[in-house]
């Protein structure tokens, strides 16, 4: 029942129109382990399990793979897409061109098919009759409803099981080993044996249908490799949750918001499993707060009282936290805030990815303020930076923001297994009763060590000299209320000195390539995966070698400045409209160096792809 693209389908589209023009597939050579699949379904139809199994089956065959869920802000019914990319070279960024579409959703099928480049393949639900749309594609149809009826007697379960049929059909078309499919499927359903059996029968029925009724006419195929052995698959939010548990977190407060909710929900599971003592008592407190104001307030209250406290949120929550962020900076309280960035401003696109909070978070608050930010690019860094963020927050006595994004947080990524935290837990400069016995007293904001960081005591410290008065109002070194001009400016100068000094303690950038080329690129976060591919594209397609530095933290370390002055032109890649990291770098480098900086910006809600960056740099280079 194809009635043409509905208005809804057009509004929800995630595909970008590919240029038409090359030859059809008839005489093409096989394309092995290097293509993308897009599965189009309706939200809430249970397709997530099917897609994960397809992804994992390819992974288990040793082929590098990545999966991205492009979903609407909706619980059930609206169109959703899942893209899987197999890449023998190990590229895991989104591939701009779609090679194989699985069209299960009548709402979007027409537009999805029209957007494909010639030679692409389509597996569609038979009643959609898509093959009439284009002569230059390879079409396969399958009567999914009929097949599912044969394997699933219970009518109400058919909607959920139907998606497993395409896993079987695709397995046959792509030459996947069905033993790997079964292994992935049984892992997915874990202890639910009945559900696993039912779904396995569905996958087999799809496979059998393809054997009996379809003739392979597209070039895309999977062959076994050995590039995923020992690796894991996990999403960034789960990795951050696990990292947070190993970081020794004790107080977690949160308010549900997409795309950060799963970070804390997964953390709750981990903490219940591994952080409850043999006496049944928890070594943590997790509180769902009434809003983000309260969530950050509890983080700071707990941090002041000595806990390792954190919250996770997204843009709208960050906006609400602005006032407290300033308090944390000015009273100098440790705390960790994960910002799993989504598209803003305002409600924006809650289920789409962006790096849109960078500038706002860097200076979050009224008044003169700077906050350190960590910039994870991978699930492994989500894990490791959880510990680094806490150590930094406690050493610097200030809130530290970890800037993840929806693409990293909510999608599955393959990774080497995580390494156990290298650094011990560092609680920073905290004076105990014994220290006070020895010292006689202390001044909370006195820069004793020259690094801008004073010594603090925790409430409850049993010493008559332990108490200090935490206040967001003007204060002197002894944290007494003061409106004296010199007290205010001295304090602000010390805070700036502390922030400047943090350049020496934040994670250093990764110099991915630094071969003395004229052109340099600076990127951060999930852009990294597109950038690795862009380096190859520039080299292979344009014969241009470029250097590349990946930022891992703000404030910028000396390596960043050295990289900039060594290059004639430096392209800064941002997933936002305003080139936010570009702006922060412009403020940071000496005025005469600013002319070296160029900006590459991507902001349509889709994860960044290499082609976009390559094309933009080539265009700006005037090639």
């Amino acid at each position: 029942m194809l009635s043409g693209a509905t208005e809804l389908g057009v509004l929800m589209a995630t595909t970008e129109i590919a240029p038409h023009g090359s030859a059809t597939s008839a005489d093409r050579k096989p394309i092995v382990n290097d293509f993308s699949i897009q599965v189009a379904t309706a939200n809430g139809s249970g397709s997530q399990s099917a897609n994960s199994i397809l992804l994992r089956s390819i992974f288990q065959m040793g082929v590098p793979v990545s999966g991205k869920n492009l979903f609407p802000s909706n619980i059930a019914g609206l169109p959703t897409w899942y893209t899987i990319r197999a890449s023998k070279k190990g590229y895991v960024a989104r591939k701009k061109e779609i090679d194989f579409v699985v069209a299960m959703n009548p709402e979007t099928a027409r537009e999805d098919v029209l957007a494909l480049a010639p030679g692409a393949a389509v597996l569609y639900d038979e009643p959609l009759k898509l093959s009439e749309l284009r002569p230059d594609l390879v079409f396969y149809s399958a009567p999914f409803d009929k097949i599912v009826a044969t394997v699933c007697p219970e009518a109400k379960l058919r909607k959920l099981v139907k998606n497993m049929i395409y896993v079987g059909v695709m397995a046959q078309l792509l030459n996947l080993d069905m033993a790997e499919v079964e292994k992935a499927l049984r892992k997915q359903f874990h202890t639910k044996v009945r559900a696993a059996d039912l779904n396995w029968n569905a996958a087999k029925a799809g496979y059998d249908y393809a054997v009996a009724s379809l003739t392979k006419a597209d070039p895309f195929t999977i062959e076994r490799m050995d590039r995923t052995a020992g690796m894991i698959i996990i999403d960034g939010n789960s990795a951050a949750a696990m990292g947070t548990m190993f970081a020794g977190v004790t107080v977690v407060t949160w308010y549900p918001i997409t795309p950060s909710s799963s970070l804390v929900e997964t953390l709750i599971d981990y903490m219940k499993a591994y952080r409850v003592g043999t006496d049944g008592k928890a070594t943590f407190a997790i509180v769902q707060a009434e809003d983000e104001l309260a969530a950050i307030g509890m983080v700071l209250g707990a941090g002041w009282a000595g806990a390792r406290s954190m919250t996770a949120t997204a843009g709208p929550g960050i906006s609400l936290m602005a006032e407290f962020a300033g308090l944390g900076y000015y009273v100098e309280i440790p705390g960790v805030i994960w910002d799993v960035q989504r598209v803003g401003p305002s409600t924006g696109l809650p289920t789409r990815t962006s790096q849109g909070d960078i500038e706002f978070v860097a200076k979050l608050s009224h008044g003169d303020t700077f906050h350190p930010m960590l910039l994870p690019c991978s699930v492994a860094e989500c894990f490791s930076m959880a510990s680094e963020a806490f150590n930094l927050a406690e050493q610097l006595q200030t809130p530290v923001f970890v800037m993840s994004d929806l693409d990293l947080g909510m999608n599955n990524w393959m990774s080497e297994p995580f390494e156990y935290p290298k650094e011990p837990i560092n609680r920073g400069k905290v004076l105990t009763k014994e220290d006070l016995d020895r010292l006689g007293g202390f001044a909370r904001y006195k820069d004793v060590d020259g690094d801008g960081v004073g010594y603090r005591t925790l409430p409850g410290t049993d010493h008559p000299q332990a108490a200090w008065f935490a206040r967001g109002s003007g204060h002197n070194e002894k944290s007494q209320y003061s409106e004296r001009p010199d007290d205010y400016s001295n304090n602000l100068d010390r805070l700036l000195h502390k922030f400047e000094n943090a350049r020496n303690s934040v994670p250093k950038p990764e110099l991915v390539r630094n071969d003395g080329n004229d052109i340099g690129i600076i990127a951060y976060g999930t852009s990294h995966h597109a950038l690795v591919e862009t380096l190859d594209q520039l080299q292979h397609e344009h014969g241009v070698d470029v250097d590349y530095l990946r930022l891992r933290a703000y404030p910028f370390t000396s390596e960043v400045h050295e990289f900039i002055v060594k290059h004639k032109r430096v392209y800064i890649v941002d997933q936002n409209r305003d080139g936010q990291m570009f702006q922060l770098l412009k403020l940071d480098v000496p005025a005469e160096e600013v002319i070296r900086l160029r900006s590459v910006r991507h902001y349509n809600g889709l994860p960044l792809d290499a082609r976009t960056v390559t094309d933009e740099i080539v265009s700006q280079e005037g090639k």
Binding site: M242, V251, K281, T283, A294, G460
Partner: protein
């Protein structure tokens, strides 16, 4: 000629060996005659009398005249003067981090009933162990005398402006939401407030005490319903309070039927001598009803309206280890390499 030195009189100390001076704070910067200063005095007396070690206390506040006052008592206690209307969340975090702290929140009517109403209601729901004092004068003092949300209907500002919106009764709200010790007092009622604070220190749960505390500069004139004169004319105590701490093993004989006796969490005894024969402070519905009736009658009812010594508090519900989370060692808070390997295996 030999002289005998007159022995210095030993200063009076409490059961932890401290003098009342050990509970002093900085010099107040509030206006002379401000009700808040009287409340600070009562806090000092109550904490001294109960022998609370000041180092165990966390004095918490938001923003406003009231929120400044923690600087004026108990300097040996840690204190946090935070942001406007957000004392509840800061305090919740602090108590989660260290459940052994005795949290004392000082807020005002603006800080609580307007900008902070959201955090206030959720704090009451959680029954977090905390003594929450509202220093309630019906106006914003630091911004020079605008009405707050506890100002009574028809109350008049110095400028002649009449309040035409109904007040929020923070006590009725707290009772309906889950606070387990709810009362109202008057900064000028030395004995009642002192007794109420001592009883509050024996409670494990949220204590909410709304203290009418006249603002001598902006709201103490004819036509104000939060003035000293108005309170003298309209305060209507529900009962006479008598408190016997657990450490004073005094047996008090009570006359059957004329008073309600409550055994507090720590074994202390609170006697509420009934002025109203049928008032039951453990009955939520009756408490709210009596408060509504007092509004109709234009009285300011004071006393302990509601008391529940049995309800679990937020810390009980979280089932945390006894040692404060803040000081748990790495061996407890960082799982082993074996746990990481187990987590990795599940993801392969």
């Amino acid at each position: 000629m030999a002289t005998t030195a007159t022995p210095q009189p030993q200063p009076k100390t409490n059961r932890v060996g401290l003098t009342v001076l050990d509970y002093r704070g900085g010099k107040t910067t509030l206006c002379a005659g401000c009700g808040h200063n009287a409340i600070s005095e009562r806090i000092i007396d109550a904490f001294y009398d109960m022998g609370i070690q000041p180092e165990r206390v966390a004095k918490m506040s938001g923003i406003g005249c009231s929120s400044k006052s923690p600087a004026y008592f108990m300097s040996r206690s840690h204190s946090f003067n935070s942001v406007h209307g957000r004392m509840p969340s800061i305090t919740t975090g602090a108590v989660l981090a260290n459940s052994k702290l005795i949290a004392l929140g000082v807020s005002g009517d603006g800080d609580t009933a307007s900008i902070g109403i959201g955090q206030f209601v959720h704090l009451m729901r959680r029954n977090l162990p905390l003594i929450y004092i509202i220093e309630d004068n019906g106006v914003y003092g630091l911004t020079k005398g605008q009405f707050s949300a506890t100002a009574d209907l028809g109350s008049k500002l110095k400028t002649g402006v009449i309040n035409d919106l109904p007040p929020i009764d923070t006590c009725a709200l707290a009772i309906s939401l889950g606070a387990t010790f709810v009362g109202r007092s008057f900064s000028g009622d030395k004995r009642q407030l002192h007794t109420m604070l001592k009883a509050a220190l024996s409670h494990r749960g949220t204590v909410l005490i709304d203290v009418v505390s006249p603002c001598v500069t902006f709201n103490d004139h004819e036509g104000s319903t939060k003035s000293y004169k108005f309170m003298k004319d309209h305060e209507e105590p529900l009962h006479d309070l008598n408190f016997v701490p657990a450490f004073d093993e005094i047996n008090v004989e009570y006359e059957e039927g004329s008073s309600v006796n409550v055994t507090m969490h720590d074994g202390s005894s609170l006697r509420l001598r009934k002025l109203e024969e049928d008032y039951d402070p453990t009955n939520k519905i009756g408490a709210v009803k009596r408060l509504m009736e007092s509004h109709e009658a234009h009285e300011v009812l004071t006393g302990i309206f509601y008391l529940n010594t049995q309800a679990p508090n937020f810390i009980d519900m979280l089932n945390m280890t006894d040692e404060p989370l803040a000081t748990l060692p790495e061996s407890v808070t960082r799982p082993s390499r074996k746990v990481l390997e187990e987590c990795m295996e599940e993801l392969r």
